[in-house]
């Protein structure tokens, strides 16, 4: 089941001479489902709780992905369905009400509850939107209840965050009639990165700036026709569409990975605010210069190294662009679970022509290709890393790219370091 489809947008549309193709294979996909996003989202939105309505498998997935290393009580849980819930949906709804009541009693501090759908809840057609509406009536106004699906039959890994944020969009208040244009940064970022961006936007005179998701659910930013938004993450397809439906305008740009990406991303906002080039350089110059210098020391370690990406987070293409253009790495294959041409329109033309793009996965055949290519470093999920290491390949687990601050100028070198460390380590070990 191969298909080589020409890339309509992207490089061809940008006037590139070669017609790039995308390898699409159908087989086993070795990726997490969208529930995984809960692991970082529950830390980002500090007064939100995520209740997965699913099976023991779903509970086991989240706890395995989270590593059960969290000391504080997690703000997520699973309502595990059993046979009785499958037998009658009416009872399932009663059971859900009972569980939510127990949860609310235990965590009265929670202001926002997400009912998160899973494969089993989707397949039995348990209507969580209705349940959320019903429960909202009971607990409003102290507790807001929303729903989204993180099921593996519909979402891959980071798409869970997309679904979560998209469910927040209808909740965003309308713009104040008198307000001018505002900037919304969309996608969960580490708090430290958020603060850096806030300072840069301030220096640029771009504002007011808001972030989605907010750290507290009670601080939901407004959205409307005067909202300009930047995507901080490449996987926010549905959220972007929902914001556009509210009248907001996307500022298309590279993603803020590496110096080039960060500059282009900030520039997109600066342009929308009519900031002059001189003022832009004055505002970001120091941070940009500092990060270029910090990246420098990784050029020797990473330059010329061949890198292979298994599909995982949808961050693969912007990462490959950064590593190729700023550190002279050679992306051999860049796999992505979904290739969202429109949001990647700026990214795709910047990838080297020699890079094979693949969308979707047949993990067995992709492993064959990976072994045949013997890249210097492989970016892959946790299930594949040790088996690949055991065959002599060096790996970087991709989930770390979601748990580590990597966006923006100050993190560009940290991002390079994430790829350099496995190589340094392999070189250092004599056993």
């Amino acid at each position: 089941m191969n298909s080589m489809a020409p890339l309509e947008a992207g490089r061809a549309a940008q006037g590139c001479s070669s017609a790039p193709t995308v390898l699409r294979q159908r087989g086993q996909r070795e990726v997490f489902c969208g529930l995984t996003g809960i692991v970082w989202l529950h830390r980002k939105i500090q007064d939100a709780f995520f209740l997965v309505v699913g099976s023991r498998t779903c509970a086991h997935l989240i706890q395995s992905a989270a590593g059960v290393m969290i000391f504080a009580e997690p703000r997520f849980a699973t309502a595990i369905m059993d046979e009785r819930d499958l037998a009658g949906l009416a009872d399932a709804n009663d059971e859900l009400d009972r569980i939510v009541a127990r949860l609310v009693e235990r965590r009265p501090d929670i202001k926002l509850l997400f009912l998160v759908g899973s494969c089993p809840s989707e397949v039995i057609k348990l209507d969580l939107a209705r349940a959320a509406a019903r429960l909202s009536k009971v607990y409003s106004p102290t507790l807001r209840i929303l729903n989204y699906s993180g099921s593996g039959i519909e979402t891959t890994f980071t798409q869970g965050e997309d679904a979560c944020l998209a469910s927040l969009v209808p909740e965003l208040p309308a713009e104040d009639g008198a307000a001018g244009q505002s900037l919304l940064v969309v996608g969960a970022l580490a708090d430290v990165v958020e603060d850096q961006f806030r300072r840069l936007f301030n220096a640029l005179g771009v504002g007011p700036v808001h972030f989605l998701p907010p750290r507290r659910s009670t601080d939901l930013p407004a959205a409307g026709p005067r909202t300009r938004f930047l995507l901080a993450q490449p996987f926010l397809n549905d959220t972007a569409r929902a914001l556009e439906e509210r009248g907001a305008t996307l500022l298309p740009a590279l993603f803020p990975l590496g110096v080039e990406g960060t500059t282009a991303w900030l520039k997109a906002a600066a342009d929308a605010w009519g900031v002059s080039d001189a003022a832009f350089d004055a505002a970001v110059g120091a941070a940009r210069t500092r990060s270029i210098a910090a990246l420098d020391k990784y050029k020797d370690q990473l330059g010329g190294k061949r890198i292979f990406f298994f599909p995982d987070s949808q961050l693969e293409i912007p990462l490959a662009r950064f590593l190729a253009r700023e550190l002279a790495m050679q992306p051999v294959e860049v796999g992505t679970p979904y290739l969202h041409q429109q949001h990647l329109a700026h990214e795709l033309p910047l990838l080297p022509d020699t890079t094979l793009l693949s969308e979707g996965q047949d993990v067995e055949r992709q492993l064959d290709r990976c072994h045949a290519e013997t890249p210097d470093i492989v970016v892959c999920g946790l299930g594949l890393a040790n088996p690949l290491e055991a065959t002599g390949l060096t790996t970087k687990w991709s989930i770390e790219l979601l748990f580590t601050p990597i966006q923006g100028y100050e993190q560009a070198a940290d991002l390079a370091e994430l790829f350099a460390r496995p190589l340094v380590r392999r070189a250092r070990l004599e056993v």
Binding site: R56, L61, V68, I80, E83, C119, G383, E389
Partner: protein
């Protein structure tokens, strides 16, 4: 529906994966959505395996549901067979596929593969990981041994002069110390002059399982995992099975006796060799301080029951709580709990276990990685005795739980987290020494590691019958409060509770230093 923060066991297909991964030449085709592939990381990251588990997931998506997910299963199974060329194929469904009812067993049979195909029916909404492992192992043994099953009524002929032979059943992938336990059990059997026909499932092949009927009896290491297969083998091949699990010095001696009886060999030489250091270490006077330490135990049934016996009779602790998430073995755990005068806690609800630990305020917690978390939060020492466990519970060094060496390992790993005897006294005597604050960790564990949260029960004490003074209204005089703070943290909560109960029963509104010591005298035994 059950509200679950952490689960002790995965779904039953994880149990099937533990069998498939343990064996050689077995492949498992699992009808499941993509997210279920997370299970690979349990084996590659937590157990640090250098190979992917031998599992093919069909990873159907929503758009396949309207179409032909059955066809997807068939092509996945065929391709998996072609690529991996297994000697036997397990096929089954995960929770989601169970709902779409594609019948993986029937579909795989229809492919006409030239190897045994074992269809697994693992009800994901009723059963859990250990059950799934036991069922899978049983089905696999049955299928592989089928050609050699004797006629009904057949009796095992006397062995004559041949050396006794047994199978070892139970060790799996992702098991708590299974790899090392297997080595220990093999050593014991070897010293008794007993040959091993098959050890399974760990490292066993399909060909091995075909010979499983050749043995005279079966050693069952983990009843949760191998009990079902062993019962079938007993009925079918007249192979008696062991009931003793050799965890602990005394249980190891019992096990040697039991095995020797089944094999018809002399146990005395090995029994008299007294190879474990645990008994002497425990008698050594430096261990006096272990006496009566209050210990809470939770785990799978096998490990929890064994731990309770060791704690009480081999280390001189006091078992104040015993429980298990193995509902299938609830009866055994309840029986064991009676020996220690405690009520068994049978639950898979982490919140219930947490509440119990808070209520009992033990001085040592023996449990799974979940109880380690609870203990850490409460500032109570702990050791892991059972699955589920984390990467750190797969140590590089040899560290079995079973046999003589297992008893040594247990002594070290349970005693190590505790405060040493004299240290504990000094701490109690000189509480005002600025370095002896409540956060002081045992000195041999380094400084500043413990994050101590006082172990106050979250619910009000309900045990005081008809109090003349509600406990909640009791006031502590400042000096009494100060005196209380001089009592070591690990008994302070209990002292506070007892004092308040004493006061309330006597209608004392304000606790003074006098009340505190009156209560101490009253409750001391």
């Amino acid at each position: 529906m059950q509200l679950t923060l952490w689960t002790y066991e995965g779904p039953p297909h994880i149990g099937a994966m533990r069998i498939a991964t343990a064996m050689k030449g077995v492949h498992y085709v699992l009808h499941a959505p993509q997210g279920d592939t997370y299970a690979d990381l349990l084996f590659t990251m937590i157990e640090r395996r250098d190979r992917r588990p031998p599992v093919t997931y069909t990873t159907f998506q929503a758009r396949d549901l309207g179409g032909d997910t059955a066809e997807l299963f068939k092509s996945a199974a065929r391709e998996a067979y072609d690529r991996f060329q297994p000697d036997a194929l397990l096929v089954g469904a995960s929770c989601t596929a169970e709902l779409i009812q594609d019948d993986p067993g029937g579909l795989a049979k229809a492919l006409g593969l030239p190897v045994p195909v074992v269809p697994l029916e693992l009800p994901a909404y009723q059963k859990k990981e250990n059950w799934g492992a036991a069922e899978t192992f049983y089905q696999l043994v049955r299928t592989c041994a089928a050609p050699s099953v004797p006629a009904p009524g057949w009796q095992r002929p006397p062995r004559g002069d041949a050396r006794p032979r047994c199978n070892i059943l139970g060790p799996t992938a992702l098991g708590f110390r299974h790899r090392d336990d297997l080595v220990e059990v093999r050593t014991l059997l070897d010293e008794l002059g007993i040959d091993v026909v098959v050890a399974a499932p760990l490292e066993a092949t399909v060909q091995d399982l075909m010979r499983i009927g050749d043995a005279d009896f079966n050693v069952v290491m983990y009843p949760e995992l191998a009990g079902q297969a062993a019962q079938w083998l007993e009925r079918t091949f007249r192979q008696p099975r062991t009931k003793t699990v050799p965890i602990g010095a005394a249980a190891t001696q019992d096990f040697i006796r039991e095995v020797a009886t089944l094999a018809g060999v002399d146990a005395e030489p090995l029994l008299n060799a007294r190879k474990s250091r645990l008994p002497w270490y425990s008698r050594s006077v430096d261990s006096t301080y272990l006496t009566g330490k209050r210990v809470f135990i939770f785990g799978d049934a096998t490990h929890a029951i064994a731990a309770a016996r060791i704690a009480q009779t081999e280390l001189g602790f006091k078992v104040v709580g015993l429980g298990s998430y193995s509902r299938e073995f609830a009866r055994d755990v309840r029986e064991a709990a009676k020996l220690y005068d405690v009520e068994a806690l049978i639950t898979d609800d982490y919140l219930e276990v947490e509440a119990k630990v808070q209520e009992l305020q033990p001085e040592l917690v023996l449990g799974t990685q979940m109880e380690r978390h609870i203990a850490k939060r409460l500032g109570v020492p702990s050791a892991v005795i059972s699955a589920p466990m984390h990467v750190q519970d797969f140590p590089a060094r040899y560290s079995p739980q079973m046999g003589f060496e297992g008893a040594n390992v247990i002594f070290d790993s349970w005693v190590h987290p505790l405060m040493m005897g004299l240290e504990e006294h000094l701490l109690a005597m000189f509480r005002d020494d600025f370095e002896f604050h409540d956060d002081a960790a045992p000195s041999h564990l380094g400084h500043g590691t413990a994050q101590r949260v006082e172990a106050e029960p979250s619910a009000p004490v309900a045990s005081a019958p008809a109090p003349q003074m509600p406990v909640s209204s009791i006031i502590w005089a400042a000096e009494a409060e100060k005196e209380l703070s001089k009592i070591p943290f690990f008994v302070r909560g209990k002292a506070r509770r007892n004092t308040e109960r004493y006061a309330s029963e006597r209608g004392v509104a304000t606790v003074t230093i006098e009340t505190l010591y009156d209560a101490k005298a009253h409750y001391s035994r």
